[in-house]
């Protein structure tokens, strides 16, 4: 069985924060990997953490839980977490869970850096 591609890209710093690109299906089998990457990213207390999610084709509640945890840690030091480029079906879980008003969700990375 061939190894799966990493679910999270290497962090890309930008002026004012860090950007991570997420990819693939994020379910219970892969959300621990995402959690570890997010915990690493927030450890340095960035002012802004942007998650570029256009490559995420599926996310379940275990994936959402990792984002909620990251959001809480960012909020704790006054940082901002922004989700960018969510596919419609991925956005759906945020709407069902009524988290679409809790998270900052924008269409693209450039908007995510300034919202």
């Amino acid at each position: 069985m061939s190894p799966e591609a990493p679910i999270v890209s290497s962090p890309q710093p930008f002026d004012g924060g860090i950007c991570l690109a997420l990819n693939g299906e994020i379910d219970l089998s892969r959300s621990p990997e995402l959690r570890n990457a997010l915990l690493d990213a927030v450890k340095s207390k960035p002012d802004r953490l942007v998650l570029e999610m256009s490559g995420v084709t599926y996310m379940d509640s275990s994936g959402v839980a990792t984002l909620v945890e990251a959001l809480q840690k960012m909020n704790a030091h006054g940082g901002k977490l922004v989700l960018a480029g969510l596919q419609t079906k991925v956005k759906s879980i945020f709407q069902i869970a009524k988290l679409d008003t809790i998270f900052a969700i924008v269409d693209d990375i450039e908007s995510a850096k300034t919202v």
Partner: protein, 155 residues
């Protein structure tokens, strides 16, 4: 040949198998004529049911069986409808204790039950006779009326 459209699938209590259940159910629901967004939501609900069994039904096992049955209800040609049953042989819980949490309490976890109830028309939980749980989910939609003026529309 039976006219009944149904699927029986057994996976085991490892997270890596959840994608198999998602793929099978999505294909079945698409076949019935559900639109893409509804297919995605049904896939999510089934995934949540499977994940809950892996986490809570088999907390210490990775070989616990999870049986998924999909049965289409094709009695009404104007509607697409199905029943999905997910059963396990793991821990049992009183159904009244299975409830989604308050969504205003924003914290990681605890969304699975809420998602299943939001997506499906009806959901019931029941302990099985010897061990394990049974969750039954149903959903139906009106199918679009074929356009009689369009000869290429075979819906």
């Amino acid at each position: 040949m039976s006219d009944c459209f149904n699927i029986n699938l057994r996976i085991f209590s490892q997270p890596r198998y959840a994608c198999v259940a998602r793929a099978a159910i999505t294909a079945a629901v698409e076949k019935l004529g559900f639109p893409d967004d509804a297919c995605g939501q049904v896939m999510l609900a089934v995934d949540e049911a499977v994940t809950n069994i892996i986490r809570h039904g088999y907390p210490d096992r990775d070989d616990g069986p999870i049986d998924i049955t999909f049965t289409a209800d094709e009695s009404d040609p104007t509607r697409a409808a199905f029943t999905i049953v997910v059963e396990d042989e793991g821990e049992q819980i009183e159904p009244t204790r299975i409830k989604g949490r308050d969504l205003d309490d924003v914290r990681p976890g605890g969304l699975g039950v809420h998602i299943i109830r939001e997506v499906m028309d009806h959901v019931t939980y029941a302990p099985r006779t010897d061990r394990g749980m049974r969750v039954e989910m149903t959903k139906s939609i009106d199918l679009p009326v074929p356009d009689a003026a369009d000869p290429t529309n075979t819906a």
